[in-house]
């Protein structure tokens, strides 16, 4: 039940063996929808819990930013996964993933409007009423914006955090990707976000494709993202940070080097 601390990694079955072999690891994150609500838990997660490694369920399909009320069964699943893993908190995104009966297949951005803030806060409140632990909300990487935003990004996020009392899961790679694709200054955004509300950070890799920077989680973490992590830690170092990798897994030495780079930049102990 210890809160996330230091350098962690997203637990995925493909790299379960690698993660199990990290001697200094104190926390991981697991995609909540991949954990069953009953029946046996994945062996790798059980072993980590026995080592007292904190496991944070990370939801990707709640659609908290959807205009429709969040589906109670999805919240119940997230709550039961949190209980089963004795998680210190859960996390989800400020995004929607379905509408009009169709699945988008990925996290989509919200209009930065008062209406979207209201819809999101209502859904977060519905989730909080059922969850046994606090929730941290993650702003996403978006390839496009809605045409009629009423609020800027910092106002939009701060308003949602203030009204829900939720923690912030800040993804440094998302901040980098959005700023690069919009042609804005990522530091200007960092300076206006409530950095003291960060539960932990995400750091991930991406790549340029067709004139856009894509937050792929299947490429190495580029150095500008590490630089931005350094800038963030210099302003207010969060309690924990986590490497997300979701495919094209590199050989173990490369993954270890990425974790070591996160430790080096943040000043937290090496976990490898």
């Amino acid at each position: 039940m210890t809160p996330p601390h230091g350098v962690g990694i997203g637990w995925r079955t493909e790299i379960a063996g690698f993660v199990a072999g990290l001697p200094g690891l104190r926390f991981v994150e697991v995609v909540a929808e991949s954990v069953p609500a009953d029946g046996p838990l994945p062996d790798g997660l059980v072993a980590l819990r026995e080592r007292d490694v904190a496991v944070v369920p990370h939801g990707v399909r709640l659609s908290l930013g959807g205009a429709e009320p969040v589906e109670p069964a999805r919240v119940a699943h997230l709550a039961s996964v949190a209980r089963r893993l004795d998680a210190p908190l859960v996390s989800e995104h400020i995004a929607f993933v379905r509408a009009g009966g169709r699945e988008a297949g990925h996290l989509l951005p919200l209009p930065r409007s008062r209406g979207a803030v209201d819809a999101t806060c209502a859904n977060v409140a519905r989730a909080q009423a059922e969850l046994p632990v606090p929730i941290a909300l993650e702003p996403i990487a978006a390839l496009f914006d809605w045409p009629d935003d009423e609020l800027d990004e910092a106002e939009f996020l701060t308003e949602i955090l203030d009204r829900t009392g939720a923690l912030l899961l800040l993804d440094v790679a998302n901040v980098y990707a959005n700023a690069r694709n919009r042609g804005t200054d990522p530091l200007a955004l960092l300076d206006r976000l409530p950095l003291d509300r960060i539960a932990y950070l995400h750091v991930a890799g991406g790549a340029e494709h067709g004139g856009f920077y894509h937050d792929t989680h299947t490429h190495p973490v580029p150095s500008p993202v590490l630089d931005l992590l350094g800038e963030l830690c210099a302003r207010h170092r969060p309690p924990a940070l986590l490497l997300e990798r979701d495919g094209h897994y590199p050989p173990a030495p490369e993954l270890r080097a990425e974790l070591d780079a996160l430790a080096g930049v943040s000043g937290y102990p090496v976990v490898t």
Binding site: G66, A67, E68, F96, R98, A99, G100, G101, R102, E103, A104, G105, H106, L108, P111, S113, R114, G115, A116, D118, A119, L143, F144, D145, W146, P147, D148, N181, H209, G210, G211, F212, H214, G247
Partner: protein, 163 residues
């Protein structure tokens, strides 16, 4: 465009509370179901998002249909994306199943994919509309010359697809 201009243009943004659902639905339709691009969005950015969604979906379907994807090799992403563009997902399992059947019908299903499809057809019954369900009785599956049989839940590839 501010709120008043939006209202004058008949833009849904002029109705802040009720129309978020409709606007989100229109956006998802434009991204995954071939719907028209909603007014005011940057078309190039929407195109980039549409392509990124298809590539992500191709990766997810490949995880459910590893032999189908391996059989197509370097052609997998383009083959999947061509098939999936404008077609909303029915879930990775059914997407791969529908594509494999279409390739089978066109005679372009690679041997590895034919064997994977034959095994799936032997184990589950899938009508193309509702989620696949386990066969409770012995069954068999055929695709591209491959034959698989299933008895009491155990499946065996009886005849490999011709190479």
């Amino acid at each position: 465009m501010n709120g008043d201009e939006a209202a004058a243009a008949g833009h849904p943004a002029s109705h802040p509370s009720g129309d978020l659902a409709a606007r989100q639905a229109a956006l998802v339709a434009a991204l995954v179901a071939g719907g028209p691009a909603p007014v005011g969005f940057d078309p190039a950015a929407l195109d980039a998002a549409r392509s990124a969604l298809l590539r992500k979906r191709a990766g997810e379907v490949a995880r459910h249909w590893p032999l189908l994807a391996a059989g197509l090799g370097a052609d997998w992403p383009a083959t999947f994306v061509r098939w999936a563009a404008g077609r909303p997902t029915a879930g990775s399992l059914r997407d791969g199943w529908d594509l494999a059947r279409e390739l089978r019908d066109r005679g372009t299903l690679p041997p590895l994919g034919a064997e994977e499809l034959a095994v799936r057809e032997a184990v589950d019954r899938y009508d193309g509309h509702r989620p696949p369900r386990h066969r409770r009785l012995p069954g068999w599956g055929r695709a591209g010359g491959a034959v698989a049989i299933q008895f009491a839940g155990r499946v065996r590839l009886l005849t490999p697809a011709p190479r």
